[in-house]
């Protein structure tokens, strides 16, 4: 079920290094959200910017009725969102999209995220943790974003930064490659920049490891009506998938990475 909550009370907005953590009250969404699903947030009171912004759910707390998103101010819409404070109200639609496949137990699983692409993986990690052996691989330009990820997730993790300010200096996929020399996990889940996803997909295919990725796209409706957020099916197959409705989570075999 999808809900439109035009006046969800904001409980907190915390500015972290490089990003923001927005917590709002939306009991129906908190109850039904699955890892990998997103919320569609109206950022302006008026008509400019016109469209909602799709943001992955980072945490859902059903007992408290709270939903947390972790985002960076990358444009005018998300910049406006940063002004929200406790007891403001935010207009939210969700939970939307197809989440990660969580039908897995007793397996070794890798979660590989870049930047705020770690957000849905933090939610996923919580869901999978009891029943599986999980390792989180997090990469970013610098330590800023990763410090927040460390606060949000207690999973065993490897960290990589481009400037070397936390963990391995270099790319997170280099850490992934090293680990794959020692063991073979049953599944990868990944979210982040396209270049990272492409490399993760290459490594997964080389060892026949099933991979799910969460994709990003500009969207208008978020529910599959406008047909705007189309993505290539890859392998020369005709037609397009819709990131909002068919995804945002796809098996790597379904899309062109």
């Amino acid at each position: 079920m999808k809900y439109h909550i035009p006046r969800a009370p904001v409980r907190a907005q915390i500015k972290t290094r490089e990003a923001y953590l927005l917590t709002f009250e939306a009991p129906e969404i908190a109850q039904e959200a699955k890892p990998g699903q997103f919320v569609h947030i109206k950022t302006a009171k008026g008509s400019d910017p016109l469209l909602r912004r799709p943001l992955s759910i980072c945490r859902a707390l059903p007992a408290e009725g709270l939903v947390v998103v972790w985002y960076q101010a990358v444009g005018r819409g998300t910049a406006l969102m940063t002004e929200l404070m406790a007891w403001d109200e935010v207009d939210v639609v969700g939970p939307l999209g197809r989440g990660f496949d969580t039908e897995i137990a007793g397996e070794k699983v890798y979660l590989i995220g870049g930047g705020v692409g770690l957000a849905p993986l933090i939610f996923l990690g919580q869901k999978l943790a009891g029943a599986n052996e999980i390792t989180l691989f997090g990469g970013a330009k610098n330590a800023g974003l990763l410090e927040t990820a460390q606060d949000l997730s207690a999973l065993p993790a490897f960290w990589a930064t481009e400037d070397g300010s936390l963990g391995h200096r270099g790319l997170v996929t280099e850490l992934l490659k090293q680990s794959l020399e020692k063991e073979k996990p049953a599944r990868f889940y990944s979210c982040g920049p396209h270049g990272m996803l492409a490399e993760v997909a290459r490594l997964a295919r080389a060892q026949n490891i099933p991979l799910q990725v969460s994709l990003e796209s500009a969207m208008a409706c978020g529910v599959g009506a406008c047909l705007g957020c189309s993505c290539d099916k890859g392998s020369g197959r005709e037609g397009y998938l819709k990131v909002c409705k068919d995804g945002p989570v796809f098996w790597d075999t379904e899309v062109n990475l």
Binding site: A225, C226, S230
Partner: protein, 311 residues
């Protein structure tokens, strides 16, 4: 006036013989086949459901990127992506039976023969109450705009479709023309039962970092509040010249917007981009029309049609 004793206003309108309980319709291409917004409101709250544009053959649509947000507006170049008429009839229309609102199917094509083929096929579906003829898609070479930008060609294609089906015909016009009144009069004369005014405005956006157009299709159709004054002006001009009803659309997001269109001469309104921003937009606009009528002692919404030029 004590509104607690006021009689509920009559929001009903009739377009091309199709009775609607209120004047709020969905805009084609923004509501799928009616299946996507049912978590937000039941379809029987709508005046009519206008479904995605259907063509003879299945179409994959344009390559991405297909969308660009612009100030108070949205540029799209979807490219008439649809499953084709046979699949639409077999899979997408049957669930709409008994939905509580009339179903209007938008059709597009490359040739007059394509339009007639699709119209004939849809005429055999009892769930279909009417056809909206798209001769105004700006985003595909063969999307009908070739017909919609010349009065003689528009008239010819409408006349052929008129001969091919007994269903009510609503013709959706393009704003990307020099004289929309001329085209409106031509399609009225050719047998159109109603007009939808207007499709999107042709536009574009450029990425200054890449120094290239933002849309893969280069140009797209502008919708949303940014285009409302243009659409309103066209409804004003056309509704004073034709005898058939006009459905107004273009940037409607509130009941006040809808009232402007009705006062400009629209007998009904359609909502597209507004529904993307607010998934309950159509029902909130209908409720807002009801509230306006109550507050202002309007017994029938139809009394407001064209009042801005009638009085």
């Amino acid at each position: 006036m004590n509104t607690s004793f006021a009689k509920e206003p009559d929001l009903g309108v009739e377009i091309a013989g199709i009775k609607m309980k209120n004047p709020v319709m969905t805009a084609s291409g923004t509501f799928g086949f009616g299946e996507l917004y049912t978590d937000f409101f039941p379809l029987d709250q709508l005046g009519a459901v206008v479904v995605k544009g259907v063509t003879r053959e299945a179409r994959a649509g344009n390559p991405p990127p297909r969308l660009v947000e612009t100030p108070s507006g949205l540029l799209n170049a979807i490219g008439l992506e649809n499953p084709g008429v046979d699949k639409v009839i077999a899979e997408y229309l049957p669930p709409l039976a008994g939905c509580g609102a009339p179903v209007i199917v938008n059709i597009a094509g490359n040739t007059a023969e394509d339009y007639c083929y699709v119209a004939e096929k849809l005429s055999e579906c009892p769930v279909v109450s009417g056809l909206e003829i798209n001769i105004s898609c700006p985003n595909v070479k063969a999307g009908g705009l070739a017909f919609g930008s010349r009065a003689d060609l528009a008239s010819d294609v409408v006349r052929q479709i008129r001969a091919a089906t007994a269903l009510p015909l609503i013709v959706k016009l393009s704003p990307n023309v020099t004289d929309i009144v001329e085209i409106a009069l031509a399609v009225e004369e050719a047998g159109a039962d109603a007009l939808t005014l207007v499709n999107t405005l042709l536009g574009m956006a450029i990425d200054i970092k890449k120094r290239k157009p933002r849309l893969a299709n280069i140009t797209g159709g502008l919708s949303g509040p940014a285009m409302k004054p243009v659409a309103l002006r066209m409804v004003w001009q056309v509704s004073q010249q034709v005898k058939i009803p006009v459905i107004g659309l273009g940037g409607i997001v509130t009941a006040a917007d809808a009232l402007e269109f009705i006062m400009a001469g629209a007998s009904a309104v359609a909502i597209g981009t507004g529904q993307f921003i607010n998934p309950c937009c159509c029902v909130e606009v209908a409720e807002g029309l009801n509230a306006y009528c109550l507050t202002h002692g309007i017994k029938r919404i139809s009394d407001l049609i064209g009042v801005a030029w009638k009085e």
